[in-house]
Subunit: 342 residues, 4 copies
Amino acid sequence: MTVRAAVAGASGYAGGELLRLLLAHPEIEIGALTGNSNAGQRLGALQPHLLPLADRVVQETAPEVLAGHDVVFLALPHGQSAAVAERLGAEVLVIDMGADFRLENAADWERFYGTPHAGTWPYGLPELPGGRTRLTGTRRIAVPGCYPTAVSLALFPAYTAGLAEHEAVIVAASGTSGAGKALKPNLLGSEVMGSMSPYGVGGVHRHTPEMIQNLSATAGEAVSVSFTPTLAPMSRGILATCNAKARPGVTAESVRAAYEKAFADEPFVHLLPEGQWPATASVCGSNAVQVQVAYDAAAHRIIAISAIDNLTKGTAGGAVQSMNIALGLDETTGLSTIGVAP
Amino acid sequence: MTVRAAVAGASGYAGGELLRLLLAHPEIEIGALTGNSNAGQRLGALQPHLLPLADRVVQETAPEVLAGHDVVFLALPHGQSAAVAERLGAEVLVIDMGADFRLENAADWERFYGTPHAGTWPYGLPELPGGRTRLTGTRRIAVPGCYPTAVSLALFPAYTAGLAEHEAVIVAASGTSGAGKALKPNLLGSEVMGSMSPYGVGGVHRHTPEMIQNLSATAGEAVSVSFTPTLAPMSRGILATCNAKARPGVTAESVRAAYEKAFADEPFVHLLPEGQWPATASVCGSNAVQVQVAYDAAAHRIIAISAIDNLTKGTAGGAVQSMNIALGLDETTGLSTIGVAP
Amino acid sequence: MTVRAAVAGASGYAGGELLRLLLAHPEIEIGALTGNSNAGQRLGALQPHLLPLADRVVQETAPEVLAGHDVVFLALPHGQSAAVAERLGAEVLVIDMGADFRLENAADWERFYGTPHAGTWPYGLPELPGGRTRLTGTRRIAVPGCYPTAVSLALFPAYTAGLAEHEAVIVAASGTSGAGKALKPNLLGSEVMGSMSPYGVGGVHRHTPEMIQNLSATAGEAVSVSFTPTLAPMSRGILATCNAKARPGVTAESVRAAYEKAFADEPFVHLLPEGQWPATASVCGSNAVQVQVAYDAAAHRIIAISAIDNLTKGTAGGAVQSMNIALGLDETTGLSTIGVAP
Amino acid sequence: MTVRAAVAGASGYAGGELLRLLLAHPEIEIGALTGNSNAGQRLGALQPHLLPLADRVVQETAPEVLAGHDVVFLALPHGQSAAVAERLGAEVLVIDMGADFRLENAADWERFYGTPHAGTWPYGLPELPGGRTRLTGTRRIAVPGCYPTAVSLALFPAYTAGLAEHEAVIVAASGTSGAGKALKPNLLGSEVMGSMSPYGVGGVHRHTPEMIQNLSATAGEAVSVSFTPTLAPMSRGILATCNAKARPGVTAESVRAAYEKAFADEPFVHLLPEGQWPATASVCGSNAVQVQVAYDAAAHRIIAISAIDNLTKGTAGGAVQSMNIALGLDETTGLSTIGVAP
């Protein structure tokens, strides 16, 4: 089976990471690469780490360029995916790496994004309850946000097992690639090296409703989320610290058991042995998720922590994993759980 | 007035930062510098950034070496300060930069440190309610821990104003110098660069009872604290994200007002204008604390965030500030609110 | 003596560093702060580390704004200083932190900058032979480039002592702040963290003719320079490795002696003890220069290495040092040789 | 074909990188993993990024443990490889990732290492003239040092083509993993972040005679090398800046032509298009070498610059590449030219 894939938005960080993974995917043939502001340039000048594609030329993101592929990945600014997707046939697998089709609630979308809601596509987080069923055979996939990936995987076992109160406090640190290749002063190397800073504090970050959607679905009723993202001096990685009050009767053992059960058969989510904690460097460039959980008896709270690579499992690797399921391939095809460290 | 100061533990990070500040302090004359494992070495080989002291030689930490100074700073491993202090006269200002005399509750000490409690000295965080009174004229000072400094200053206004429930969730990121000049594999540059990782999760970090002590004192009754420290890929700085449920009736305006009132006259704590968030780089090398606070209406929670330099305001600068008060000097003498950035 | 100083270009990295130093200068009163694209903004939003100036507002870079000051610092894009300077009186000390007035040879200027040469001002590197004489009483100063500062100080003793052949090979690593607060993709944190890369290779970097000018002046005849700058994953600092063939008869001892003699009385240049090598972290935020030199007997070459903070000694600190001389103040006023480390 | 490989020194950085690559190698089955000080520990605690091997236990480096493998990799401290190798059969492919068998000249070894010379094995840099012939069918391989790999590949085309004088000046920046997982103060994260520093200056670095050996062999007569290594604030990567005087008649075109010819058929060495310069991030985790070369007409010098990942092409990837040749596999098997960036 050879699957021909096009990538719209090939010059950005998400697009570059996707190409890195597709180059190693045995069933994929890389077709058109598009990117509007960079059309006409050699990919080697934009993504100098992708040497096998150095001489490919970026094309315009136009329907005729994206036509004729089995899979089309969209790594576009939010609000642009719907228009591109509707020009592609229903038989084409369209995978949106942006936010447009993640939220089920149109009011949430409009409150956080300020534009009309484009719709809802099957959500590409296979590890969530029902996640693989949603993706099997689909031809439209909404790739989750990077923070919601890290947070939902760290915390859902506490909710499916009924261990935690429905009020989660989350603080996550992200590498700067999560902000994309955007020319903003606060993303300059001189500003980020040696510095930690928060942003989008107080419930305003756009990934908040997505976390609420995922956690509420697993809890069976509304979960409140107070989410604080921070920018860390590293290129890649998310460390998500998720904290929720334990319900009465919860013990360290019951917490451990719930997490062991939740991830026992997961190929990419690794519950670490007790005493070992996740580190983002350990999952750099890999599709793995490292999870650890503790029960703080004095504060009677559960602390679940996950580490992912925001560009791999948090974006492009998650997209490939869902693609594999949709196409009927082995879910792990072309993906690795081995990090590049130190 | 010339105050003669000795530094026990001059070869470590806390000792080095203290010397950096003392060199700029107009009333201080630097006396003996001690450090057991490095005794006999030039300071220039151990602290190459302190050029004016390069030819000073490190001595043994012995009573006769520390004798004859007006102020003695102890930057020693925990458990060692009491023995040194009792050999110094009651008229000598002894400032312990370690943990030994911070906790009021002996049982807390023994649970977290596993050794007998040495006692309790006046606590060197002037900005806390009653903080300056405690320090005026004292000859013994317990310098706060770096995390408790950042957390207590970020959160106490919410408790003194009765705005927050007595259950705080705290996630803090620290630069690696907070772990000292310790030869541990996880502190190697190859391990920390590009990586975020937690440690001491689940209520076991030794700064937890100190935070509880401070916040409970300002709240007037017990405050529960769930504290998660994380190691960030930077040398200096702490970013503390403090989250507590708001009490009924709290609004964004009442939160803002409480914080404006709390810090109106503080020389080192700066409540940032609305919309601007702290960054650790902005306080690098300075004694300033940057604070911002938000009210998340959807989650009905207060998020207070502070940035400090762990070595300056979090250790050596805090020590100098408290020394100034104890000696009757202007509190800001020799200290700066200007960061070294970018 | 109170000297009133204006800063044109207060929102950039050089301007910010200058303000950091001027705030600590006992004779300076900070007057107008200007910056065209940021005019009207609070300085606190642009330079959040300069808390004492947070509420100052940036003004337009206009003659009437800069009038009425004793000293005017120009931190402007190259080509703009001459027009501003000629509107200021001859009695005003004008200090150009840009490149416009550094080169003596108009043809060099035109070849490297492509515009007409504005002229030549006294060159602000006091440590060079004759350097202080040039600056005494002057009212116009050309602040050296950051690389030429590091390279000239590392290498001139080898030339004044006649130890080296007139062909120097130089490789220097600079922190990203050397490129300014410029919104370029290669300066994004995601790109620079974890990466070393060269630029301006092959004799095309604009600091090359300035190095040749300085070294040739000390050698008494033309010195050829092959200069390769590299960008390092750090905000601040330059490490300059300077390599030249030794002349016949040169020994390790004669090299050491020449360097000891050259820097014996220099307040800011520190020849390190044998066996200790410079590190940029040791001079972070300080005006110090750390130098070390070796003689490679097998290759018969001299290797001189210097570390500076590109923003301090390399730009703003060098400017203040030269200002002090021009104004008849002690040369070290307001400047420190103590680095902020680790 | 399934090749069973043992790794002696599996807990260090070189061993970890080798395992990362072997896990992705289709012909390799990973056998015994040894490491003396860590024997008995789970690999997951030592190399947390190698999730598929997390439950493997490190064994003692003993002959009976290493017996029964087709290939044995030695990632041991220098001086230890010979004793281990002589206990392995002549039919076993023994690949020494340390220094012991790299040098042909025993006097060089003794001068730089201070111990008796163990011998010389076929040198594992296939891209050098005659390199592949030396490796075909061999059962002993000396893997080159990381710096000599970067330097030799950058510079040999200038010597094989007779373009450069026989006196090379080299300055290289290395990530900290090049120093291994050694508990030394100068390798602590707090020390290396934000800092560049040289070491081993003046011809004393042990990789110097290896560079001289390689360049002299390609030049056909002795080449003098003045080598200065520097430590950069990054985990991985080497950027080598190599500078040599051009011989009379050399032009930019003749230099370019020599490099294009030298690397035309190389699978891992990529001469970048003119105007694009290597960056270490672009080869992170990959076996690729990025090379660029310039001719500085004013200084009449050739500047050749290469970027490699010191752990991949500089150590473990180079070892696998040579192993492939020795075993008769396609040279690129299991190796990638795709970097993990940003």
